[in-house]
């Protein structure tokens, strides 16, 4: 089966809208200008215009098993995971799609392209919205993945020299999700983690939980019974959107270090803001400091985890119709969750 993409190497002609540079007398400016002054014509990733996989959540994202050297993933560890795929297919709501789930040790392109090394896990219909698949990870898959994990091999070697050297932190098993039926096949990759109980008492990771949306720093709007947060907007107006989350979403956890010790860590959370109309001031936010050189030692959580959304004004694309929103939160180690919202244009006063 040829699963290779059929696109040409450079799929789009250069769409330059760079202003014609005037003769420059200053070399540094000349160097900086092409980078700073050109409009690349790239799409805004926060604007969902066509078929996209917006998120994949595994439940649970991680399982813990007893730490017995050499830490092979036991056959009797729970191996069933619920994988929920969040798909947006604007303009094609209800179009039948097919989701195929496989597992492998991904290649450099993060794909499962070697049929002999790929295990099919599930396949079924999926569509715009959420679709959940239950997958079982065979023990042969974890054994094969573990054998290829250089960290596991190194930790086993270290433990052979020093039995107290418990440095292996766990095995990620990668699940490829292929979505077909659209204009092109889409590929996504999600991990589920099998971890030894190192250090002792280690708890499995849990997905974060978004509890609602705060608009313009006002009251928090929780999701309705359908899991969707209702939002009213005025055409052309700008509204600040903050996500509220369960306090337990930002977990404290511990990992073994390669020196044989233990590191106590706190998750960093990231949020992506997406909609099918209008524009966000920020596509993504994270509380991870960008510049570790300038990090604030007292940093607990940055305040700026919001984005401002500007509604389409009259005459703009999407104006006057309901706008769909997706807010995706991840914890940096496999935990993912999201909340959906629908914006309804407020009637003119």
């Amino acid at each position: 089966m040829n699963r290779g993409p059929s696109l040409p190497p450079y799929p789009s002609p250069n769409p330059p809208s760079c202003p014609s540079p005037l003769p420059l007398l200053f070399l540094p400016l000349a160097l900086a200008l092409p980078l700073a002054a050109c409009d690349t014509g790239f799409e805004d990733p926060a604007l969902v215009k066509d078929l996209r996989v917006l998120a994949i959540k595994a439940e649970p994202p991680e399982v813990i098993f007893p730490a017995v050297a050499p830490w092979a993933v036991p056959a009797d560890v729970p191996r069933a995971f619920d994988l929920t795929v969040l798909i947006a297919d604007p303009g094609n709501a209800g179009r039948p799609l097919t989701c195929s789930l496989s597992t492998c040790v991904p290649d450099r392109n993060r794909r499962c392209e070697d049929p002999a090394a790929t295990t099919r896990l599930a396949e079924g219909p999926c569509a715009d919205g959420e679709t959940t698949f239950r997958v079982d990870i065979p023990s042969a898959v974890t054994a094969a993945a573990q054998a290829e994990d250089p960290f596991w091999r190194a930790c086993v070697q270290a433990a052979a020299a020093d039995p107290a050297a418990n440095c292996w932190s766990g095995l990620a098993v990668w699940i490829e999700v292929r979505v077909s039926g659209g204009e092109r096949d889409l590929y996504a990759l999600k991990s589920v983690v099998f971890s030894p109980e190192l250090p002792a008492g280690r708890k499995p990771n849990a997905n974060p939980l978004i509890t609602g949306i705060q608009l313009d720093e006002g009251a928090v709007v929780p999701p309705g019974a359908d899991g969707v947060v209702p939002i009213a907007y005025a055409p052309g107006a700008t509204v600040r959107m903050d996500l509220t989350r369960d306090a337990a979403s930002k977990e404290e956890y511990a990992l073994p270090t390669f020196e044989g010790g233990v590191r106590d860590l706190v998750e960093y959370l990231s949020i992506q803001f997406l909609s099918d109309a209008g524009s966000f001031s920020q596509f993504s936010r994270t509380d991870r400091p960008d510049n570790p050189f300038a990090a604030d030692p007292d940093l607990v959580e940055p305040a700026e985890m919001w984005s401002k959304w500007t509604a389409p004004a009259a005459g703009e694309t999407g104006a006057g119709r309901p706008v769909r929103f997706w807010f995706v939160m991840s914890d940096g180690r496999g935990g993912v969750s999201w909340i959906r919202a629908v914006g309804t244009p407020a009637p003119a006063p």
Binding site: P5, L7, P9, Y10, S12, N14, P16, S20, P23, L24, L25, F26, L27, P28, L29, L31, A32, L33, P34, L35, F42, E43, V53, A55, N109, R110, P150, F151, C155, Q157, A158, A161, A165, C167, A172, R184, Y187, A188, L189, S191, S195, T257, F258, E259, G260, R263, Y268, Q272, R288, P289, N291, P292, F293, A294, A295, D296, P297, L299, R333, V336
Partner: protein
């Protein structure tokens, strides 16, 4: 009324050749006495040409035997209209005192131009010629009636070989431009001076018995002195490929901002550097694989930051030799190419100076004698981008912020002549580069700290000792200081390197056909590394890759730690080569360089044999071939005990090349060669995870896993500098491939450029105008295509789906540059204004490609737009 005058430029080429011989590093056979005309026969001015008031120059080549007899005369650059025949007939009748090489009469080949000129009218009797100053009568000196000196107008440089005549008595100026005429009858006399490439001049002087008249002539140059071209003497050609840049080429090649060292980037074998960054990319290798030496001293930086000029004032330069490969054993620590910059050893006869001023930087230069046989040269340059750009923005009524380079460089050289040809010099030079914020917003400059700085300083000396005619010794001690700092926010890193280097080279002519050149090089280095930076932590998150767990392992809580350590390292090299001429037409140069490095208790040793063969098969054709091994340590940072791998081995390469040269009249030349290079044990980033002796799991950041190869053809068609024109066409057809790991196949290396075509031409238009152009046509750099992408659900990001590594290319690069310069010459100084315009027709050349978030759309970042540079130069 004009009268015909005929000027023969005989001594100049010989003198130039003599100077070139002296510049050779390991004393080749030396032209100890140039040939001298002892029987001059004037040519007959072709009557028809004289009637038509035509003037001409005939370039000839003369072969002299060891007795000084003319054995052959060949017209190299004919002028027609009877001039050629007249010149040949006259020269055949010349008689010479023979040339001497190493003190013994020898045959020699000369080139010169026979100038046919219609002489101008004599100057006014009162001596008021603007070109000549009649002196007053001096002290009595029996037998001498007139003496003086002839200099070039504007530069005041001595004019050598000028013919000075009075009433049929003729003398020629010496190396200092001085002349003497003896035995003149008393009375008013016209003194005439004629010299190649200068307008003739005359002055009236009154001579009296027992009195000496002093005269100073300032001749106006008509065109470039043809003999300023660096003579590539046979004895110099000990490499398969070496391209030498002449003095005028140094500063007038369009698109180089008048910077001599940038000229190298237009020669065969040099890949195009992105934007105008000036990276030295030789035969597809990485910049760090090549080395730059200034008077034999390695320097870490040859260009200032962000496309600035090179770190040496052009007036300090004597010549620039570029070896794209198969260089000699005196060069180590490079596996690709070598640039050797030589500074001028001449002791000036008077004080001279120069100033450069343009919109981006200003520089000054001064040189002069400080005592008999001793001279001093000084230069200083400072940029002012940081002041000019905000001012320009304010004038333009706009606001903005830009990171700009701030740099200075300096050079100071003291030369002293010792006994005989012995000499000594001390040379101090260095540069300092920092990044500054140029902004129209005062608050921004207060808030942002850009303490990123690189500086280096060198203090070097050289003592050239010639105990016998066949033995010379060159001793060169050097001290170096390099400082690199990086400061951002609350963290800072500083690296201080102190270097001591001692080199001693001997040149010993055992036999007229055999010369040995042994040398040693000993160095000690102290690396001082200090950092106050976020602590390095590994993040052992399941599923993350090696880079994520180790490379991005800064402690993200803001905890910082201080690191300070000093590492001492040493190196020792011994090398020797021999120049063996079993027959006159064949030169064989075998050699070997043995090199040891001592670093963190480990010794690395390599012995690199090298061989070059050149055969002059006649008719101006030379065949050449070379083979050799070349090695170097991996980059310093790669060996760091914390961030690198101190156990890395040396990188090494095999180089093979062969070619043919054809030279006609030293004006037209063809140089064609092929090369094949294999690169081994290149250090590359590694994803290896290992267990150290303490039982800890560590990453091995770098290993000697990469390899590569390159092969191709290089062609240089060259028209050397003549009175009006120079130019060349350089074409390289090559393929450079690499693999970053053992299990990878070869793919095009990052700087592989299949076709590199460069055409350079410069024309002197007269009246001080010179115009030139450069055109480049180069294959695009390799690029790895993106075919699609994969969504990574754990992070919410996309990773590109890549095609075969470097299997695509960016678009073709083509660019035209133009330069025009106007020079005004005054009696004691000269002034020039130039305009250098890069990318005249605004070609939008792609430099790299960026992609949208899911690799579906791309955008090409293009190179420089139209880029004019206006500058001024003054010189006295």
């Amino acid at each position: 009324m004009k009268r015909p005058a005929i000027i023969a430029a005989l001594l100049l080429p010989a003198l130039a050749a003599a100077q070139e011989y002296k510049r050779d590093e390991a004393k080749p056979p030396e032209l100890t006495r140039p040939p001298e005309v002892i029987g001059f026969v004037p040519a007959t001015y072709p009557p028809e040409a004289m009637a038509a008031r035509e003037q001409a120059d005939v370039t000839l080549r003369i072969d002299l035997d060891a007795t000084g007899a003319v054995t052959a005369v060949e017209v190299l650059a004919p002028a027609g209209r009877g001039f050629d025949e007249a010149a040949v007939e006259a020269v055949r009748a010349f008689r010479f005192r023979p040339a001497e090489v190493d003190g013994a009469p020898a045959s020699i080949r000369l080139e010169y131009v026979y100038h046919f000129r219609l002489e101008e009218k004599p100057a006014a009797p009162e001596g008021g010629s603007p070109d000549a100053t009649a002196g007053t009568a001096g002290a009595a000196e029996p037998g001498v009636s007139v003496r003086g000196v002839v200099r070039e107008r504007g530069t005041r440089l001595p004019v050598v070989g000028a013919a000075v005549s009075v009433d049929g008595v003729e003398a020629r100026t010496d190396a200092k431009g001085a002349f003497e005429l003896r035995g003149l009858a008393p009375g008013r006399r016209q003194v005439r001076v004629v010299a190649p490439d200068y307008a003739a001049a005359s002055a009236e002087v009154k001579t009296a018995d027992g009195r000496v008249a002093d005269l100073t002539f300032a001749l106006r140059p008509t065109m470039e002195n043809a003999y300023e071209t660096v003579v590539r003497g046979e004895h110099e050609e000990e490499a398969v490929a070496r391209y030498t840049v002449s003095k005028r080429e140094m500063t007038t090649v369009p698109g180089t901002f008048g910077d001599p060292i940038r000229v190298v980037q237009n020669l065969p074998g040099v890949s195009r550097s992105p934007f105008v960054l000036g990276l030295l990319l030789v035969r597809g290798a990485y910049p760090g694989d090549s080395a730059v030496h200034v008077d034999g001293v390695p320097v870490p930086l040859i260009y200032h930051f962000l496309g600035g000029p090179s770190i040496l004032n052009p007036r300090f330069l004597d010549r620039i030799d570029f070896h794209p490969g198969n260089f000699g054993v005196r060069y180590g620590a490079a596996t690709a190419g070598i640039i050797e910059v030589r500074t001028r050893p001449e002791v000036p006869d008077a004080w001279h100076g120069a100033a450069d001023l343009n919109l981006l930087f200003a520089g000054g230069y001064v040189e002069g004698p400080v005592a008999d046989g001793m001279s001093l040269k000084l230069a200083l340059r400072r940029s002012y981008y940081d002041a000019v750009i905000p001012l320009a923005l304010k004038i333009a009524g706009s606001s903005g912020t830009s990171v700009v380079p701030v740099y200075y460089d300096y050079q100071a050289r003291f030369d002293a002549k010792l006994r005989g040809d012995d000499r000594v010099h001390v040379f101090a030079f260095g540069s300092d580069d920092a990044l500054a914020l140029a902004t129209t917003d005062d608050r921004t400059s207060d808030q942002v700290n850009l303490s990123t700085r690189t500086s280096f300083h060198r203090l070097t000396g050289e003592w050239l000792w010639n105990p016998t005619a066949t033995l010379s010794n060159r001793l060169s001690p050097t001290l170096g200081l390099d400082v690199a700092t990086f400061d951002m926010g609350e963290g800072a890193v500083e690296m201080v390197t102190v270097t001591g280097l001692l080199r001693d080279e001997v040149s010993w002519r055992l036999h007229p056909r055999l010369e040995l050149r042994p040398g040693i090089e000993a160095g000690i280095v102290r690396y001082q590394f200090s950092a106050f930076a976020p602590a390095i932590r590994n993040w052992n998150v399941p599923g993350s890759d090696v880079a994520r767990r180790f490379d991005a392992g800064f402690d993200e809580t803001g905890e910082k730690e201080e690191i300070s350590r000093a590492i001492h390292a040493g190196s020792f090299a011994a090398y020797v080569d021999a120049i063996w001429q079993p027959w006159a037409f064949l030169k064989v140069i075998p050699g070997v360089r043995a090199q040891s490095y001592f670093y963190l208790g480990r010794e690395r040793f390599r012995a690199d044999p090298r061989l070059t063969v050149r055969a002059d098969v006649g008719a101006g054709v030379t065949l050449k071939a070379g083979a050799g091994l070349y090695s170097k340590l991996p980059p310093e940072f790669y060996l760091d005990p914390d961030y690198g791998n101190p156990d890395l081995d040396m990188e090494w390469a095999e180089q093979y090349s062969a070619g043919v040269e054809y030279s006609r009249a030293r004006v037209l030349g063809i140089d064609l060669q092929g090369f094949y290079i294999r690169r081994h044990d290149k250090a590359s980033r590694s994803r290896t995870v290992a267990v150290d002796d303490a039982g800890d799991v560590t990453r091995v950041p770098y290993e000697n896993d990469a390899r590569g190869r390159a092969y191709g053809l290089e062609l240089l068609l060259r028209h050397d500098m003549t009175e009006r024109f120079y130019g060349w066409l350089a074409y390289t057809l090559s393929r450079s491939e690499e693999a970053q790991a053992f299990d990878q196949g070869l793919s095009p290396s990052r700087f592989d450029q299949t076709h590199i075509l460069t055409a350079v031409a410069s024309v002197r238009l007269g009246r001080g105008w010179e115009a030139g152009a450069r055109f480049r046509l180069v294959s695009g750099n390799p690029a790895t295509p993106r075919l699609d992408s994969t969504y990574l659900a754990d992070t919410g990001r996309y990773t590109p789906y890549l095609g075969s590594r470097d299997s695509a290319r960016l678009g073709l690069f083509h660019q035209l540059d133009f330069r025009v310069e106007k020079t005004w010459e005054f009696e004691k100084w000269m002034f020039a204004m130039y305009l250098d315009v890069q990318n005249v027709y605004y070609a939008r050349n792609p430099e790299f490609r960026i992609w949208d978030y899911r690799s579906r759309k791309s955008y090409e970042i293009t190179g420089i737009p139209i880029l004019p540079t206006l500058g001024f130069k003054g010189e006295f």
